[in-house]
Amino acid sequence: MELGSSDKTKATFSLADEDHTLANSVRFALNQDPRVTFCGYSIPHPSDARVNIRVQTTGDPAKEVLKDALQDLMGMSQHVRATFDKAVVDFKTSEPVKP
C-alpha cells in the first residue's frame, strides 16, 4: 500500500505482516542507492505487524527506487547463500564432519 500525494518522488509504503527483519534490511539497501535523499522505517504499534517505510528520492519515482532496493537485497541474499554453501562444502571436504 503506497501513500503519497501527486509527487511521485516521495512516498510512504505500508507493509502488512512485516517487522524489523525485512524493514531494517530494506532501509539499508535503500541507503546504498545514491538516488535516495531520505529513507527510514517505523513501526506504528508493536502489537500490529505493520511497517511504514518512507522513501524520498532525487527525481525517480519512489516505487521504482524501492523495487530496485528490494532486487538488490534479493541479489545480496542469493550471493550470501551461494558463498555460504560453497564455504560449507569446502570445509566438509577438507575435514570429515565429527558427530
Partner: protein, 372 residues
C-alpha cells in the same frame, strides 16, 4: 606561495578517506566507559564533500563478501561473515530464531494422569521436546483441517509405576511413535448407528506414515532419549497421546529450530605503544582469556604481542588502571561477524542458515509482487 585548498594538499590520499576517518567508519572503539563510533554511516553521500563515495552496490558487495567456516558439527556451527552489514546479519539471526518451521507437540489428549505433575504442566513439557524430523516433509495444519498423515505426528506415552516399586523416572525414550495415527476413539453420540464401520479416532490417517519412503527406515523419535518428562511414585500412572504439528517460532518458542543463534563482531586489540618488561608481564597476567603473549626480543628484553585477539570477551581488564588506555586499544571490526548457530536437532545448522536466507529472499519477492 600559491593558495591551495586544504583538501588538495599533497599528503592527503585522494579518493580515500584519511586514516583516522577510515578508522571511525570501520571500527567501533571500545573505551573504558562505553563504545564510541558505533553508528553505521551508510548514506552513500556521507563523505561526498571529500570526493569519496562509500555507497556499495551489489557488485561491490559480491566482490568483498566472504564466508569462513570455523567449526561445523551435527548440532552447532561457527562461521565468519565478512563484508556484510549488521542489518542483514540481524535479519538472518531473527529469521533463524522465529521464522523457520519445525514440528512440535501441540495437542495432548490425556486419558489418565494420576501423577503429581499437573495436566497442563505435563502438556507444556511435552511441547518443548525437540523432535528429530525434517519439517519440510509436512504441511501446516489450520483449524479447519482434519489431522491426517501429512500434517500430524502422533506419539503415545503410557507409563505406570506399580505399587511397591521404587520411584519411576519417565524419560523421552518412553514416547512411542504411532505411524498409523491416533488410537483413542472419539466418543460418538449414537453408538448403535453403524457397528460395521471403523470406529472414529482423533486423526484420519489414510495410510500409515511408515509406508512413506522417508520414514520407513528411520522412525520419528525425539532428538534426545534421556529428557526427563515426569517422575512417578508407586501407584501413579500417565496415559496420553500427543499430536505434533508444524509451526513457527513466532507463534511459540517450542517451534524454534535453534536453541539459540547469535553473532558478535570480530575483536581487534592493538598495542598503541611498545609494552615492555614488567608492564608486559602485567598485561599478560591481566587478561583472563590470554589474548596477549610475551615475545623475547634481543638483550633479554620482553615485549608483549597480541596473540589471540579473537578470544577477547571485552572484559576491559587490560585497560583498567592508570594509563593503560593509552597503550591498548580495544576495537571491533564493524563488518566482520562471528556467527554461532546451535540447532535443537531437527535440521543441521548449515541447512538452517540456507533456509533462513531463502526466507529473506521470499519476503523480498513478496513485497516486489505486491508493489507491481
Amino acid at each position: 606561495m600559491p593558495r591551495v585548498s586544504a583538501l588538495d594538499l599533497p599528503d592527503l590520499p585522494k579518493g580515500q578517506l584519511p586514516p583516522h576517518l577510515e578508522l571511525q567508519r570501520t571500527r567501533v572503539h571500545c573505551a573504558a566507559d562505553a563504545p564510541i563510533h558505533t553508528e553505521n554511516i551508510q548514506y552513500s553521500g556521507a563523505y561526498a564533500m571529500m570526493g569519496v563515495d562509500i555507497g556499495s552496490r551489489l557488485d561491490e558487495f559480491c566482490k568483498k563478501f566472504r564466508v569462513e567456516v570455523i567449526r561445523l558439527t551435527e548440532d552447532d556451527m561457527e562461521f565468519d561473515m565478512i563484508g556484510i552489514d549488521p542489518a542483514i546479519a540481524n535479519a538472518f539471526r531473527r529469521i533463524l530464531i522465529a521464522e523457520l518451521a519445525t514440528m512440535a507437540i501441540e495437542k495432548v489428549l490425556i486419558a489418565n494422569n494420576t501423577s503429581v505433575i499437573q495436566d497442563e504442566v505435563l502438556a507444556h513439557r511435552l511441547g518443548l521436546i525437540p523432535i528429530k524430523v525434517d519439517p519440510s516433509l509436512f504441511e501446516y495444519m489450520s483449524e479447519n483441517d482434519t489431522p491426517n498423515e501429512k500434517n500430524t505426528i502422533v506419539f503415545k506415552l503410557h507409563a505406570k509405576c506399580k505399587k511397591g516399586d521404587p520411584r519411576l523416572t519417565v524419560k523421552t525414550d518412553k514416547l512411542e511413535w504411532l505411524p498409523n495415527g491416533s488410537e483413542l476413539l472419539v466418543a460418538s453420540e449414537n453408538p448403535a448407528s453403524n457397528p460395521a464401520s471403523k470406529p472414529k479416532t482423533y486423526t484420519s490417517f489414510s495410510c500409515s506414515q511408515k509406508s512413506l519412503p522417508e520414514f520407513s527406515k528411520h522412525p520419528i523419535i525425539p532428538k534426545h532419549n534421556d529428557i526427563i518428562i515426569a517422575k512417578l511414585g508407586p501407584g501413579q500412572e500417565i496415559e496420553l497421546e500427543a499430536h505434533a504439528v508444524k509451526g513457527l517460532g513466532k507463534t511459540h518458542a517450542k517451534w524454534s529450530p535453534v536453541s539459540t543463534a547469535w553473532y558478535r563482531m570480530l575483536p581487534e586489540v592493538v598495542l598503541l605503544e611498545e609494552v615492555e618488561n614488567e608492564k608486559a608481564e602485567e598485561l599478560v597476567k591481566k587478561c583472563p582469556v590470554n589474548v596477549f603473549d610475551i615475545e623475547d626480543v634481543a638483550k633479554g628484553k620482553k615485549r608483549a604481542t597480541v596473540a589471540r585477539p579473537r578470544a577477547c570477551t571485552l572484559c576491559r581488564e587490560c585497560i583498567r588502571g592508570e594509563d593503560w588506555e593509552k597503550r591498548v586499544a580495544l576495537r571491533r571490526v564493524k563488518d566482520h561477524f562471528i556467527f554461532t548457530i546451535e540447532s535443537t536437532g531437527a535440521l543441521p545448522p548449515d541447512v538452517l542458515f540456507t533456509e533462513a536466507v531463502k526466507i529473506l529472499e521470499e519476503k523480498c519477492e513478496r513485497v516486489i509482487t505486491e508493489l507491481s
